[in-house]
């Protein structure tokens, strides 16, 4: 068959399949990320159907997916939110990092995968899925809860931490020398600071340059700028994703809102391809050997995230119930764990088993996170045996 025809047929089949999976995920109230990964496993090497024609396209598409994921993440925050968030949550952020980076890194060391893999696995277990967490908080009607700002502040800290972590990771994966790595980190820190300053002072100028009332022009400018910045950042070995993230932060106000609105469907499309490609490149037969480790890691890092949220919420004077809610909201891991693992696997600097472990781990955590968040309250009630209603409040609104 002609290659173009084959590519179209395979791509169409994959997207259709993802559509069905996404619909299924919506039906059962799940994040579609684990289903997309399973979809990739299904189609990829060692899966039921092996695809050849789409690989080239999907590799590029998945790169674009990462750039759009990070660009959208940057668009969600204003520089001011990031700076104030950082000031308020740095201590909780550090506790979060230490508690949740360590289990992943330790597992990699114990398995004898080496220090590069430890850096990768630490990142995978460290970062919560802000996408899943925000959705869970909204779905469970917790936007007005007192612990919610604490949870969001930790997520903001994590996302900013990615701006430092990803360049470090890129440098290490590229096998740069210590001095070279230090240089890269220096450059990226400088760029991060510079962009924050520009966004704080001249965010409106950046926005005005990108903005247009014509949707088509706006979309082209935005994606053009994002890919260009991402490419340049990549050439400087600062990580394409970080470049896109910083561009997103520099765009502010109404322009950012419009940009987020028109980019959302595109982001969803390309990000879905990204997850599938990650699944495609993972051999399903490599999963059973790492299942035990993944389960153990899931249990441990659920506990450490709950501990992090509990501790951070208690510092804000939140009650026990709120602390449990805060902790459980942070458990889900998702898109960024896969972004990290994807970077590592693509570079070839780590063992393929790492991809299997990361996939299995994210599959578990993306499902477990929302479930735990939902169970936090009933579980606490069971533990504490809270009387249903105290007499004084009997006249108040039913609760």
């Amino acid at each position: 068959m002609h290659t173009t025809a084959l590519t179209l047929i395979e791509l169409g089949a994959i997207l259709l399949f993802l559509g069905i999976l996404g619909r299924l995920a919506g039906r059962i109230g799940l994040s579609p990320i684990p289903l997309y990964l399973i979809g990739g496993l299904f189609f990829g090497q060692g899966g039921f159907i092996e695809l050849q024609g789409v690989l080239e396209f999907s590799e590029v598409a998945s790169e674009i997916g990462v750039v759009l994921l990070l660009l959208m993440l940057g668009l969600e925050y204003t520089a001011k939110e990031l700076v104030t968030g950082l000031r308020q949550s740095w201590l909780a952020g550090i506790v979060d990092f230490v508690l949740n980076f360590t289990p992943g890194a330790l597992v990699a060391v114990i398995l004898g995968w080496g220090s590069v893999a430890a850096l990768v696995m630490g990142g995978v277990t460290y970062i919560s899925s802000s996408g899943i967490a925000a959705k869970v908080i909204g779905d469970l009607g917790r936007l007005g809860n007192r612990e919610t700002p604490t949870v969001l502040a930790i997520l903001v800290f994590e996302d900013l931490a990615m701006a430092i972590y990803l360049p470090v990771l890129t440098a290490v994966l590229a096998g740069l020398s210590f001095a070279g790595g230090l240089g890269t980190v220096g450059i990226s820190l400088l760029v991060v600071t510079l962009v924050l300053v520009i966004a704080l002072r001249w965010g409106n100028v950046v926005s005005a340059v990108v903005d247009s009332t014509d949707r088509e022009v706006f979309l082209l400018t935005l994606i053009g700028a994002a890919l260009l910045v991402a490419g340049l950042a990549s050439a400087l070995q600062v990580s394409a994703a970080v470049g896109a993230f910083l561009l997103g932060i520099a765009i502010s106000g109404a322009t950012a809102e419009n940009a987020a609105r028109i980019l959302e469907p595109l982001r969803d499309l390309f990000a879905a391809i990204f997850f599938v490609v990650f699944g495609l490149n993972t051999d399903p037969s490599s999963i059973p050997p790492v299942l035990g480790v993944a389960l153990l890691l899931a249990v441990v890092t659920s506990a450490t995230k709950i501990a992090t949220g509990w501790w951070a919420a208690r510092r804000q004077g939140i009650g026990r119930m709120g602390r449990a809610r805060a902790g459980s909201a942070l458990v889900a891991r998702g898109e960024f764990s896969i972004v990290i693992a994807g970077l590592a696997v693509a570079s070839g600097a780590v063992l393929p088993e790492l991809a299997a472990l990361a996939t299995t781990y994210v599959l578990l955590m993306a499902v477990l996170g929302p479930v735990l968040a939902r169970l936090a309250e009933p579980a606490m009630q069971l533990v504490e045996r809270i009387p249903k209603r105290r007499p004084r409040e009997a006249t108040g609104l039913a609760s």
């Binding site: 969600e76 925050y77 939110e81 990031l82 104030t84 968030g85 802000s130 925000a134 909204g138 009607g141 917790r142 936007l143 007005g144 809860n145 007192r146 612990e147 919610t148 700002p149 969001l152 502040a153 997520l155 903001v156 809102e257 609105r261 939140i318 009650g319 119930m321 709120g322 809610r325 809270i386 209603r389 105290r390 409040e393 108040g396 609104l397 039913a398 609760s399």
Partner: protein, 160 residues
């Protein structure tokens, strides 16, 4: 009244008050324009018993309902010594004949004898509006008059 404002990074802003009964009542203004009315739980002040999404129309109407009570009570109190004069409120509904038309078009005073003393919109009071004031759906009109006059006024607002 002290309004507590809490930024919710990536989502929007929460604005709330602490009521005398110890409950938090407020709104979450999401960045995409959605509004949620929030009321804290009695047993767990950190959590919310309700988080109700409101459209801008609904939010404005709730604002009017909450704000008008005081105004109407005050006017009723002032007219207590005038027998036969009462205060009543009328809502301009979506699809009302006067939605989007100036107040003068109703010719309310000449046709019913009742007089419009204030319009509440989005929780704000427009006192003694002039005839060129444009009415809109969701506006709450505070009208003073005799009970027959008020009935006539209701008929005018409903049927044009």
């Amino acid at each position: 009244m002290n309004v507590i404002e809490t930024p919710l990074p990536g989502i929007g802003v929460r604005r709330e008050i602490l009521t005398g009964s110890g409950r938090r009542v407020g709104i979450v203004a999401q960045r995409d324009g959605d509004l949620d009315l929030i009321i804290s739980k009695a047993g767990d002040p950190d959590a919310c018993v309700a988080s109700i999404p409101l459209t801008p129309d609904e939010a404005a109407t709730i604002g009017n309902l909450l704000g008008s009570r005081q105004l109407v009570a005050q006017l009723t109190e002032e007219h207590r010594d005038l027998p036969g004069v009462t205060t009543r409120q009328f809502l301009i509904e979506r699809g009302s004949p006067f939605d989007g038309r100036p107040l003068g078009d109703t010719r309310m005073r000449s046709r019913s004898g009742a007089s419009l003393v204030a319009v509440l919109r989005s929780g704000q009071v427009q006192a003694s509006p002039t005839p060129d004031f444009t009415l809109a759906a969701g506006d709450l009109l505070v009208v003073v008059g005799t009970s027959e006059g008020l009935d006539a006024a209701a008929d005018i607002l409903r049927n044009g």
